[in-house]
């Protein structure tokens, strides 16, 4: 917390001196919370996204492909799940990446380890969790997602589901083209900066909205009101949180502030995390795009695996914390 002490000083000054709000009043509490949380989250986001996109520039899909082919299958599963942590899973690249991997001989099960880990373990979410809730929460979040990706990918690989991939996929000839997209240290840094600025601009309103809702709940809602309706006693809370998250689509950065305010107000951490993972990983547009390469049955298996994995993670967190 010490790192953000100056931010606390600023939001105290902002609420009590600049706006002259009474120290113990509800409004002051909400305003103070809003200022402190939004500044803190933006600082965390800017730093994290910058570092991650810089690291990512060293790990293009072509390198992923090389790392994953010609290995013992289970090692491939583990590597694929780990690579899934730092690489984003955007609906844009999912299909070309999938085709590129299976076409170059990466086993289907290994490809699935990647396809499960990439959306389930989001690196921005992991670092935000670290900053807001501490290292244990972030670590278990990563470990849970990676384990699920490895185990499920391994099992799917053993089931020989190749026939459930759309037939045309196997017929595409992978071309050999080299593009020197990112070269030089400076260029990488500059690209990371551009990416960060672009993403922050994009999530800006969502973060403010999320923190705003959080501040309102913080100031006005009866404390722990969520605990009463969706607390640990309610065994259905986790699956319901996942269902609520499916039609919503946002990236992790926009979801975290809302998740934090939910947790601050008594929602068990596992239930809140399940909600966040469902929003980011189980999204309708992504499934529509994956349908281009997976036959309906395999797509259904994939969705079911993700859903069960997320619900499992939710229960796991509720058990531990």
């Amino acid at each position: 917390m010490d790192l953000f002490f100056p931010v606390q000083l600023f939001s105290d000054w902002f609420s009590y001196s600049l706006l002259k709000l009474a120290r113990k009043s509800v409004v002051a509490g909400a305003v103070n919370f809003f200022v402190f949380d939004s500044i803190k989250i933006f600082i965390l986001l800017a730093v994290i996204i910058f570092i991650v996109s810089f690291i990512r520039s060293f790990l293009p899909p072509e390198k992923t492909k090389k790392l994953l082919s010609n290995r013992l299958e289970i090692i491939g599963n583990i590597l694929a799940a780990l690579i899934g942590i730092v690489t984003p899973f955007c609906s844009c690249s999912a299909v070309p990446l999938f085709i590129g991997l299976v076409e170059s001989g990466v086993p289907l099960g290994v490809t699935f380890s990647y396809l499960i880990s990439a959306p389930m373990v989001n690196e921005v979410a992991a670092v935000l969790l670290f900053g807001l809730f501490g290292p244990m929460v972030a670590l278990i979040y990563i470990a849970s997602g990676v384990t699920i990706a490895v185990v499920v990918g391994f099992i799917l690989g053993k089931l020989r589901l190749e026939s459930l991939v759309e037939d045309y996929v196997w017929k595409i000839k992978v071309g050999q083209n080299k593009v020197d997209n990112k070269s030089g240290f400076k260029m990488r840094l500059y690209d990371a900066y551009l990416y960060t600025a672009d993403l922050i601009k994009k999530v800006f309103p969502f973060v403010l909205l999320g923190v705003g809702i959080g501040a309102f709940i913080h100031g006005y809602a009866p404390h722990d009101f969520l605990a009463a309706i969706a607390g640990k006693g309610n065994i259905l809370a986790v699956p319901i949180a996942v269902l609520v998250g499916v039609p919503l689509y946002s990236n992790a950065a926009g979801t975290i502030p809302i998740v934090k305010s939910l947790i601050d107000n008594g929602l068990p951490i596992g239930t809140a995390l399940a909600f966040m993972m469902s929003v980011t990983a189980l999204s309708f547009p992504e499934m529509v795009i994956l349908r281009k390469v997976l036959k309906p049955k395999l797509l259904a298996i994939y969705i079911a695996v993700l859903a069960v994995g997320i619900i499992f993670t939710g229960y796991l967190f509720n058990m531990i914390f």
């Binding site: 899909p61 070309p96 991997l101 076409e103 071309g175 083209n177 997209n181 551009l194």
Partner: protein, 78 residues
């Protein structure tokens, strides 16, 4: 010169398409920018990401950049 933006039809791909069109107009070129959503074309180019900016059938930029000047310089260098 054939300028193409290849993408899976996602939001980011469309954004690159719009930006490329804008770049071409700002450079005073007459070329049409073609938007290709057939993903097998991307893979056949040997690329595993989208969107892709391709000039004369060769990928010159992979992934999205919010930097319109970069797009202009890529087109100029061809």
């Amino acid at each position: 010169m054939k300028i193409q933006v290849l993408g899976s039809g996602c939001h980011t791909c469309e954004k690159l398409y719009e930006m490329t069109k804008k770049a071409v107009v700002e450079m005073g070129l007459k070329e049409n920018v073609e938007y290709v959503t057939d993903i097998s074309k991307i893979v056949e180019m040997g690329v595993m990401q989208s969107p892709v900016l391709a000039i004369d059938g060769k990928p010159v930029m992979i992934g999205f950049t919010p930097d319109i000047e970069k797009i202009k310089s890529l087109i100029k260098s061809k």
